[in-house]
């Protein structure tokens, strides 16, 4: 999306929010149209469950409706919507599981005492094209993302999947920029490790036959 397009979208959005705050219900419908997919996708990717994501989407849309007068425009409207979506998703998730912590060392290659790599690393990146849209790959990826600890997962979803800027993610999550970066890096390392296991096996099977 070009910069000017983004600017126009932002102005349209601000106008819609103002109209809705003034009581215009059509403006609300348009806001729903703009956001419901993003709300649903984010909560679905966090919880991996259609019913839960639907509940969250309902709750968020209702909150937007009821609480719009509390939105003061200090942060971007989208940041506000993302925050509500995350809060609502976390309420649902909280009861469900305990968090494993990831240690970064397990995600890095092994180095010798002078800091050089010791093992061969397979470069599977060139073979992913044909694998991308198979159901199996999709499942592996979904599973890998599902295994990410919550802190890393949410940064990864907002930044790499939703495409928010680092600054925006730090605003939504109330984190410092360095914290966003290090969580994102950890998330990518974690996913790389998980996907490597899968693709390396896939490639070696293919080599045998």
């Amino acid at each position: 999306m070009s910069f000017t397009q983004q600017k126009v979208d932002k102005e349209i959005e601000e106008a819609l929010v103002k109209d809705f705050q003034a009581g215009n219900l059509d403006a609300y419908d348009k806001i729903v149209e703009l956001y419901q997919k993003r709300i649903y996708a984010l909560s679905f990717n966090l919880m991996r469950n259609q019913m839960d994501a639907q509940d969250v989407a309902q709750e968020v849309l209702l909150t937007l409706f009821k609480k719009i007068h509390t939105f003061q425009g200090k942060s971007a409207f989208s940041s506000w919507v993302y925050r509500i979506t995350l809060n609502s998703s976390y309420m649902k998730l909280r009861s469900k599981k305990k968090e494993p912590k990831i240690s970064i060392d397990e995600l890095l290659p092994s180095f010798n005492s002078t800091g050089f790599q010791q093992e061969k690393i397979q470069d599977w990146s060139e073979n992913t094209e044909s694998l991308l849209f198979t159901n199996e790959t999709r499942e592996i990826i979904n599973k890998a993302v599902g295994l990410l600890p919550e802190k890393e997962k949410v940064v990864f979803l907002l930044r790499d999947v939703e495409g928010l800027s680092t600054e925006k993610v730090s605003e939504v999550l109330d984190l410092t920029i360095p914290a966003v970066k290090s969580r994102l890096h950890r998330a990518r390392l974690f996913l790389r490790k998980k996907l490597s296991g899968y693709f390396e096996e896939y490639n070696s099977q293919k080599g045998e036959t």
Binding site: D123, W124, N142
Partner: protein
Amino acid sequence: MICCKECIDLLYDYIEGLLDQETSKSLEEHFEECPPCIAFLNTYKSTTTLCRDTLNQIEIPDEVRHTLQSFLKENKDQQEKK
């Protein structure tokens, strides 16, 4: 030459284009001579693309869309009655 460990530590900033020219250059020199680090770089980048493309395929299922629609309509009707 910088070592692999430094190279991997700088990977994030390198991909995001946050390194100064000099550091960036020394990293690229390392890559030229180190296939394992190149493999790591490529698979790191690929991981992001693969996950993004896969997770972005999510659409609201029709039944969910319908539920949301009637939920919102109900809510609006209630509001208008008030």
